[in-house]
């Protein structure tokens, strides 16, 4: 797993992809920080994070589009299949590499927080709550994107597919309000990433939200492992 993690992390920065992802994230984070904190003269970072939530949904598929599909296209998956490693180790290695790149990008918000604390007293509980929440949402979206990427050889399809599925999961609560059956509506709302994420934004820490995101991530990673293993069968 370590070997794959290292290779994938290097691959992000051997190609422009990793730099572009981090740079675009910094651009948005910087702009929102300027707009909602510096320009508005506020120490409240909630708006920054809520905007970054949308940015994350758009950007994560770019991070994950090549993770599985490229190996399939260039036939390098054969190297992984013939190596004495399990499919789980392969998928997890790739997942952690993407998660680290994402964390690198997200870390800019902590820098913004530090800058704020030079001039005011920001609520660190809220900032950290947002930060952890956004990281968990990102990890789940990475797992979703990886699964889509495992289904195709085409990176564009992987990106668009990852974006659509991610967006669908985020907007489940909007769907919930359209459903008349109350039990189903409640289920959809509870499954919505947006609803779950909003709990973090209040600066409260609910174990069920943590479990929700971790188990969703694990579920999609498990599906990805199955999709990768399936290649041995056909």
């Amino acid at each position: 797993m370590k070997a794959i993690f290292k290779r994938e992390l290097n691959a992000y920065f051997d190609s422009p992809l990793g730099y572009v992802f981090v740079a675009v994230y910094y651009l948005f984070a910087g702009y929102f920080f300027f707009r909602y904190n510096l320009y508005a003269g506020s120490a409240d970072m909630r708006d920054v994070f809520s905007m970054l939530f949308t940015v994350t949904v758009f950007l994560i598929p770019i991070l994950t589009m090549r993770l599985m599909s490229e190996d399939r296209k260039t036939k390098t998956d054969q190297l992984l299949l013939m190596a004495p490693v399990t499919a789980a180790a392969i998928v997890l290695g790739k997942f952690f590499a993407a998660a680290v790149v994402y964390l690198t990008a997200m870390a800019i918000t902590l820098v913004s927080g530090c800058v704020l604390s030079l001039y005011a007293a920001p609520e660190w509980a809220v900032i950290l709550g947002h930060f952890i929440g956004l990281f968990l949402v990102g990890c789940t979206l990475i797992a979703v994107g990886m699964l889509i990427s495992a289904f195709t050889e085409n990176q564009i399809i992987a990106a668009v597919g990852g974006f659509c599925v991610g967006f669908f999961l985020i907007l489940l609560d909007a769907l919930g309000s359209l459903v008349s059956n109350s039990a189903l509506a409640a289920l959809l709302t509870d499954m919505s990433f947006e609803t779950r994420y909003s709990h973090f934004t209040l600066g409260t820490f609910d174990l069920s939200d943590l479990v929700f995101f971790l188990s969703m991530t694990a579920l999609f990673l498990y599906f990805t492992i199955l999709a990768f293993e399936k290649r041995r069968l056909d």
Binding site: K2, A3, I4, K6, R7, N10, A11, D14, S15, T74, K75, T76, D77, Q78, L79, L80, L81, M82, A83, P84, V85, T86, R232, L233, D234
Partner: protein, 331 residues
Amino acid sequence: MIEIRDLHKSYGAKQALRGVSFAVEKGEVVGLLGLNGAGKSTTMNILTGCLCATSGTVLIDGVDIAKDPLAAKRRIGYLPEVPPLYVDMQVSAYLQFVWELKGLRGGAAERRKQLAAVAEKTGTAAVQKRLIRNLSKGYRQRVGLAAALLGDPEILILDEPTVGLDPTQIIEIRDLIAHLGEQHTVILSSHILSEVAAVCGRVVVIDKGVVVADGAPAALEASLQDNSSRVAVIAGTPQQVKAALEGLPELVSVTPLRQTEPGVWEYALQGAAGSDLRRPLFAALAAAQLPLLGARGAQVSLEDVFLQLVAPEQGRGAPPEKNTATGGEAQ
């Protein structure tokens, strides 16, 4: 060392393998021969654990690859048809990644030593710092081979290792494989017969998912060699020769091919299947006082063997002209 038992593989409705079985002993160099789509790559992918068989077993050194894939894979170095290279990496970085991926033990010093040894063996030492994307096909093949050799696996499986290379590269890779065959058990696939004949001590011919022949290249040739057809150079006109040979019960046909010198003709003689023409031919010509200046067998080459094996409906009792032609080239 390697034991394959009754391997079946279906891709949907298409049956790629229909009961392939053979065993490879330690130290053997075995050539897997077959036309494109015969099932060579499928067999190799199953052998190396890249693909699951529909049914059947593969034992690598007694370890079932389906039950304990990790242990079995550690014993194998595999070079697939398309070398699985990360083209954005430098050769040295790629080989180091493969080293780590294979979970090879040993400190940095040991790793450097092994990487250097493999680079030397495969002739990739000069390109270590180059990006794989900028390498020629021959060098990519070598890098793939270097990756397969890392960790010094006992078994090497090479899928069409010389395909797409230029003639000098083919000879170099072939020499390298012959050299590797001294220390490793090697299975290589090819549809090029000369390659298999040059490198392998044993040939397994696969056609339409079944093993149709298994043996040493020379033995395979011998099994199809027959003495029923000859090309003879006789000092006598076609009429004289026909008259002299008319009474021979073994002879089916006499065809004059060409006049080689004044009064001397070359004839294609076809005998009954399974007969030996040589002695009766000599005796009959001697009796008619027509000097037999030369005779050669219509020798079968490995190529003929192969064509007969993979196309039995047309191949059996191949037309004499074909055998004659090949025999002419062979001598």
